[in-house]
């Protein structure tokens, strides 16, 4: 966790330094491509990067607190606030161009939306998700209505207000950059300082409350953090898409790690990277809306994480499932061969020239394998040195294969006997039940199985007990 924080600090420092440095000091090609030469573009890039970092941090808490939809309600509820703040500003000062005023209005109605959600939840029997759905759409609808009213007002200068809907990075100025940097620094400090408190709250609220932590206050703090990131990000990404900036980096990070601290650091990294790349892409191709490109970039990183995540990723899971399937097939082959040879009597010879080749057709019947499937299974066993030949007439085990076959059969039968004796499963059904689990039994479980079964204490000649049911 500390390492993650360190990386973040360096990242923040570099980003700030990059924005402050004069154009001349960045003359290498990398900078001209990624940061571009234009001062304003660089300002935008650094701002969106910082915004991504802040969003990743705040979003991680939101995701783990299972409040993603709450973030969505909050961001949509900011729209009427923006428009109302604009109307007030026009009325009292004559111009509605002050970003600070607009985002204050956004924060007020955003939080108001959250309060309404909480009120609905505590005063009625309407469930959480329904309450958030209602608040989200009603506040957003109100915002759209107000927006159309404002646009028909005689005072000019409403242009740009609708950019809050979908986001527009080009209009960002130096003051916005400071605002976004401030938000990023605050989320970083809050994440580090309240790391343990937020982790406890997200994991087990009831326990936290029983210990006297003010969970409501912590929830409010968390919500304020989300509000902060949301309102400073509104201009760049827009009301509709800002939730993606919060949730997607956090969800991506979760695919890579099962540690809270690392998840925060990675979410900040993913958020920063998507802000940087997304804004960069939209700057390279004028006309592309930055907010949407940023979200799509974040989504691309998410898909990558979904596929390549080391533990939960699709690829890793497919590989694991395939390996298990191969192991099950291999064990079925070995036990099939053992059972065929066992027909000549208990404790059969399994390997050596005196052992007859087992015809393919006999093995196919053992497991209702198609000839093609069986060939594949045998070929893989051959590569592992378990099967001696791949003869046209049939199959024969190697010494290693023979040992493995005896062991596999023994485990299967021990498990069957255990099920018959302890789980009251009829001997006619036990084969299938044993089949379902025996392949994943570890060595420790097998030892316990042996200890609990008297039959394992006085084994047959080769250690393999007789099957508790007739073998088909």
């Amino acid at each position: 966790m500390r390492k993650g924080a360190g990386i973040l600090c360096v990242f923040l420092f570099l980003a700030t330094a990059a924005a402050e440095a004069s154009a001349d000091s960045w003359r290498d090609d990398f900078a001209s491509v990624v940061l571009l030469r234009d001062y304003n573009t660089r300002l935008v890039l650094v701002s969106t990067t910082l915004l991504g970092i802040a969003g990743g941090l705040a979003g991680s808490f939101l995701l783990l607190r299972k409040r993603s939809l709450m973030g969505d309600a909050l961001s949509h509820a900011t729209l009427p606030g923006i428009v109302l703040a604009f109307m007030f500003a026009v009325h009292f000062t004559g111009t509605g161009r002050s970003f600070a005023v607009l985002i204050t209005g956004a924060a007020v109605t955003g939080l108001l939306g959250c309060v309404v959600v909480l009120l609905i939840r505590s005063l009625t029997r309407v469930k959480d998700d329904a309450a958030m759905g209602i608040v989200l759409s009603v506040f957003y609808g109100a915002g759209v209505v107000l927006l159309s009213i404002v646009q028909h007002m005689p005072e000019a200068g409403t242009a740009g207000l609708e950019s809050f809907l979908y986001g527009k990075t080009a209009s960002m100025v130096r003051a916005d950059f400071y605002l976004v940097s401030g938000a990023a620094v605050i989320s970083l400090i809050a994440s580090l300082a309240l790391f343990k408190e937020f982790r406890l709250l997200c994991f087990d609220e009831g326990y936290a409350r029983s210990m006297g932590w003010p969970t409501h206050a912590l929830d409010v703090l968390m919500l304020l953090l989300v509000t902060l990131v949301t309102v400073v990000g509104l201009q760049a990404v827009g009301v509709v898409l800002i939730i993606a900036f919060l949730i997607i980096p956090a969800a991506s990070a979760r695919m890579w790690t099962s540690r809270f601290g690392w998840m925060l650091a990675l979410a900040a990294g993913f958020g920063g990277a998507s802000g940087w790349l997304g804004a960069g892409l939209s700057a390279l191709a004028p006309g592309l809306p930055a907010g949407a490109v940023i979200v799509l970039t974040a989504a691309a990183l998410f898909v990558l994480s979904l596929l390549a995540g080391p533990d939960r990723g699709v690829i890793a899971r497919t590989v694991r499932a395939r390996a298990l399937k191969r192991r099950v097939e291999r064990q079925h082959l070995l036990r099939g061969i053992y059972e065929v040879l066992e027909e000549s009597g208990p404790a059969p010879h399994l390997a050596g020239d005196s052992v007859p080749l087992i015809p393919w057709a006999v093995l196919e019947r053992k497991r209702s394998w198609s000839p093609r499937e069986l060939r594949g299974v045998v070929r893989r066993a051959y590569r592992r040195g378990l099967v001696e030949t791949m003869d046209r007439d049939g199959v024969r085990l190697t010494d290693a294969g023979a040992r493995a076959a005896a062991r596999v059969t023994r485990n299967h039968r021990l498990w069957e006997i255990y099920l018959v004796e302890y789980a009251d499963i009829a001997p006619t059904h036990v084969d299938r039940d044993a089949d379902a689990v025996e392949h994943i039994l570890g060595a420790g479980l097998i030892r316990r199985l042996e200890a609990s079964l008297p039959v394992a204490a006085r084994p047959a000649a080769d250690g393999v007990p007789a099957s508790p049911h007739p073998i088909r």
């Binding site: 783990l64 299972k66 029997r125 300082a193 309240l194 790391f195 343990k196 408190e197 982790r199 406890l200 997200c202 994991f203 087990d204 009831g206 326990y207 409350r209 029983s210 210990m211 006297g212 932590w213 979760r254 790690t257 099962s258 540690r259 809270f260 998840m263």
Partner: protein
């Protein structure tokens, strides 16, 4: 350690003296409940609960589904709002005595896919001692490790919690409460759906806690083991049917009162009350 805790008189003196408690609350009792009623959406879940638990006992709380066992526990810990009544922990309200109480919630109450390690979860038991803003330090982790050893999960310290079996998860929650080093423990169904090894481990821990003078309140389902595990029994079905030494109150008559027949009337009355209140609004 044990002695120093026992001799600490703060709670008793304050409880007996200045506050002017009703006489029903004995200041020495680890849990004293008076006239407690809790309602969800106007429907009473527990009614007029009066309890006086002696110190140093293993207390079983039994009753049918929906009898309000968990609710009673949560109401004592101020996790659900009370409609009326008072709860005293060693003579003081809960909020003043939190450090003396360890809570083991139901296993299903959290998401076990959460990104933390076993050690992280157990170390949460020491957060109360740490206080605000201070990061989890070596000492906390040491205490957490000791607690994990007590429940037999030291080897699992660095596993992610989703990799544990149900029984192991239950032991992790128990270890977290042990790391708190409390004087009275509230355990919500620790024996629910656990394997035999976990059940033995939990019983061992209960006896160890009793030996050290701690009080344990345990919501329990398995009537077959009640007499073996608990020396004090609270039989609950919306109200307290019986509370006392297990040998005295665990009778056929009380079981019938708790689980069978007549009390359905009470629950019907509660439903009627909630309808009445709902209609009146």
């Amino acid at each position: 350690m044990d002695q120093s805790l026992r001799e600490r008189p703060v709670a008793r003196l304050r409880g007996a003296g200045s506050v002017g408690l009703p006489e029903e609350h004995s200041p020495g009792s680890p849990l004293s409940v008076h006239d407690l009623t809790v309602a969800y959406h106007r429907k009473p879940v527990i009614w007029d609960i009066d309890l006086e638990i002696p110190e140093g006992k293993l207390v079983g709380i039994v009753g049918p589904n929906g009898a309000g066992k968990s609710t009673l526990m949560k109401a004592c810990l101020e996790l659900v709002p009370r409609s009326s009544g008072e709860v005293r922990i060693f003579g003081e309200p809960y909020r003043a005595q939190r450090k003396l109480v360890g809570y083991v919630p139901q296993r299903e109450s959290v998401d076990w896919d959460f990104p933390v390690s076993v050690l992280d979860v157990v170390a949460m038991g020491t957060y109360g001692r740490l206080g605000w803003l201070r990061p989890v330090n070596r000492r906390c982790k040491g205490l957490a490790m000791e607690a994990l050893e007590k429940v037999g999960l030291a080897d699992f310290a660095h596993r992610q919690i989703s990799q544990l079996s149900g029984g192991q998860q239950q032991r992790v929650f128990l270890a977290r409460a042990l790391a708190q080093d409390a004087r009275v423990y509230f355990m919500d169904e620790p024996f629910a759906a656990v394997d035999a090894a976990t059940e033995r481990a939990i019983v061992g821990i209960l006896h160890d806690l009793k030996r050290r003078g701690r009080t344990c309140l345990v919501v329990h389902h398995d009537l077959a083991t009640v007499e073996e595990y608990f020396d004090w029994l609270v039989m609950l079905n919306m109200r307290v049917v019986a509370s006392g030494p297990t040998a005295e109150v665990f009778t056929a008559e009380n079981l019938r009162k708790t689980y069978g027949g007549k009390l359905t009337l009470l629950s019907e009355a509660a439903t009627a009350v909630s309808k009445e209140a709902g209609g009146a609004e």
